[in-house]
Each structure stands twice: as C-alpha cells, then as structure tokens.
Amino acid sequence: MALLEMNHIRKSFNDLEVIKDISLKVDEGEVLSIIGPSGSGKSTMLRCATMLETIDAGEIRYLGERTAWVEADGRKVYPKAADLRRVCSCFGLVFQNFNLFPHFSVLRNITDPMIHNQKRDRQEAEKEAMALLERMGLETKADAYPCQLSGGQAQRLAIARALALNPKILFFDEPTSALDPELTGEVLKVIRSLADLHIAMVIVTHEMNFARGISDHVIFMEKGVIEVEGTPDEVFEAEHARMQSFLGKLEH
C-alpha cells in the first residue's frame, strides 16, 4: 500500500491552472524528487499534498485512506480539524524559508510540538530533541534562538523539528533555495544522512546532482504536467528536448 497517493490533481489560482491532472505515488521509504523550472507547479503540488492548499479536482490518499477529494459536483471534501491533525501527523514539511518559531529557543522549537501536541513527557521529549540536535550538529545551540543561527543551521533545525514528530513522509519544499552554496552543501549532507531512517521523502529541488544521487524516483514537471518520470538515470538520460534544455541551462 502506498503511503501517499495523489490522483488526477488539478489546481488553479484564479484563471491560471497551475497543476493539470497530475498523479503520483510515494511508497514506504521511497525518495521522490520533483524537478522542473520555476512556476512549473512543483511547490504547489507539495502544498496540495500537505493540505496547505486545497485541490480543485482529484483525490489525496494517505495510507490508503482517502483524506481529501473533490466530488463530481465540484464540492471539496476535506477532513475536519481533529481529523486533519491526525492525517497531518503522518507527514512533516521543511519549508524553503524555515518558518522556525523565533520566540522559542532552538530546543523548544523541537520540544514544544512534541509536548503540547503529541502529549509527550517533557524530559523524554528533551532527551530525544537533544539527540536530534546532535545528529544535526547543533547540540551546542540548544539554548540559542533562531535569529542567532546561520541559514544552514536554521534549516537543519527545521529538519530536526520535523523529524521529532516521527513522520512517515517528510516533504522538502526547495530546502536549499534560500542558502548560499556552502550552506546548501551542509543541508544536503544532512538530508542524505536521513536515508538510513527509512522515512519516505518528497523533495522539490533545483539541486540536480543531489536529486539524481538520492532519489528512487524522479519527476520532471513543466507547466503543470509531468513531462518525464522514472528512475534518476531514466529521467536524466531521457531524450526529452525540454528537459535536456532545462538541465543544460543549469550547467552554466
């Protein structure tokens, strides 16, 4: 059974159709990368999957359970607040601009959702959070505040915060787009190191080598449709003119 299934998704903003009938599926432990030019609908797809945007057509299933769909008459069916929280608890999301909580310390950014939303014991939560910080190389920053972190450290904290809630899928929305090349490297390294946790990951990225190296499956999107998909080798070697020109442009 797939962890996540998105079937025949459509999404428009006003008159602009950003996603045109896209389907995708993520299995347990699978790493899926979504690449493509800006404005191709990659991030919107991720925001639909995480239910930050509502879909205009199609259905979303988590663990086989239909969680959001659009009826034939166009009525959107989304879960009520409590159900939505239950569904959301199976995934995490790492934002392009981190969205850390500035008024919480580094440690509390991780523990507050654990204690407050998952009703975990404080001491246990703090212990686990410290282990995560260590994993991210942030153990000395536990008492610092987000404004004192570099971009790379902030993004690593955001990843730790997402991991702390034990998601089955972790979504990354251009996690390195706000970072310079050096900081990008350290964040990508951390994401690579998550492979041994066997968490499924869906990564929207412009880092082609990274996507090629880490993914089980790659999707190339353009103008709201999937143009090419398959294993990294299949996609990157595909003789698809638009994609090759996209990849070629990146090399400059």
Partner: protein, 216 residues
C-alpha cells in the same frame, strides 16, 4: 488650606485615578482582543458589527461616551441612577472606549504575522487555539508593545475626563481646590503627579520591551 492638606487630597484623588487606570486596562485589553477577532471574522455580520463598534467609539469624544453611559439608563429606561453607578459607568465607558483602540492595535499586529508561522504550526499539529496562543500571540505582543505603551500613557491622562461625572479623581479634586483657594498651585501639583505616574508607566513598559528583546 495648608500645602500638606492639599497634597493629601490630591493623593487621594490620584489613588482613584489609578483605580480607573488599572481597571480599564484589566477589562479593555482582553475585550480589545475579542473585538479584534470580530473585526477579522470571516462572518460578514460579525465583521460589520465590530467595524461599526470601533468606528463609533473612535469617532466620538470619550467625555460624551462617559455621559452617555452614565445617564443612559435614566433617559432610556427611566432607571434612577445612584452614586454607586457612577464608578461602574466610568469603568464601562473607559473599558469599551479603549477596547476599540486596542482592537485595532491587536489587528495590525496579528495581520503583520507572516503566513509561514501559521503554516508551520499547522503542519506541526497545533490546534487553532494552540497556534494562536503559543505561536502567534506572543510574537504579536512584541510587535505591538510600542503602540500599546502609547495608548496606556494616553489612558493615564484620559482618567481626568472622569471629572465630567464629578468623580473624585485627581483632576476633579485639583479643580475643586483651585476654585476654592483661587490658586493655580493644585493644577501644578496635579501635573507633576500625572507626569510621575506616566514616567513610571513608561519605565515599566520599557522593561517589558527589553524583556522581549531576546529575539528578533
């Protein structure tokens, strides 16, 4: 009248001014938040009611509102109003009036919050109220504190408007003594008291701001 007696009377008035000040804050700060929610409600009727509420309270003099609340029960329902009602009327008028100003301050602060904070909170499993009280509101407080300080300082001086209902706060007393003694001294003394009161308020608010300076 000796200087000492005058001071004693003014200080008695000052304690009443402080009473109005403190009670107004106690009621107006939470009430303002409720009004702000109404102003930002998705329900158009609630939104309009809150808008009209704010518009009237900001658009008419506080002194007139004091008179309206005090004499309202008599003119509208022919209820006899006693002296016990006077203080209650003052607190109601001040609280309602200031809640309108606070509501707009809260609203500006809440609307200035980046949507990413709400999105992150939602993904991390915060409930709607958890998101507001744990994530959004603490950051809003930091953002609006300078505007709140302004309003609070204005309130200290506005307590003198209670003289329009002949309530024995400091300004009313100063005016009485000044008339009786044909002296300007009581006004000067009152001015000094208001100034010191405000200096203390400003100092406390500054401390609050500093306490929240631990993040940007």
């Amino acid at each position: 009248m000796s200087f000492q007696v005058m001071m004693q009377q003014l200080l008695g008035g000052l304690s009443k001014s402080m009473g109005i000040f403190a009670l107004t804050l106690v009621f107006a700060l939470p009430l303002g938040l409720v009004v702000a929610f109404g102003r930002m409600s998705r329900n158009r009727v609630i939104r309009s009611i809150a808008w009209i509420f704010i518009s009237i309270l900001r658009g008419t003099p506080l002194m007139l509102q004091l008179l309206a609340v005090y004499f309202g029960p008599y003119y509208l329902f022919n209820i006899r109003i006693g002296s016990a009602w006077r203080f209650t009327a003052i607190i109601i008028a001040f609280s309602v009036n200031y809640s309108a100003y606070f509501a707009e301050i809260y609203r500006s602060g809440i609307e200035s919050m980046p949507p990413g904070q709400y999105e992150a909170a939602r993904i991390l499993g915060y409930t709607k109220s958890g998101t507001f009280f744990r994530i959004i509101f603490p950051q809003v407080v930091k953002r609006i504190l300078p505007s709140v300080t302004n309003e609070v300082i204005t309130l200290v001086k506005d307590t003198s408007l209670a003289f329009s209902l002949a309530y024995a706060e400091m300004f009313t007393i100063a005016k009485q003594i000044a008339a009786k003694e044909t002296s300007f001294m009581p006004f000067i003394a009152a001015a000094v008291f208001y100034y010191v009161f405000n200096a203390v308020v400003a100092f406390i608010m500054e401390r609050f701001e500093k306490a929240l300076n631990y993040y940007t």
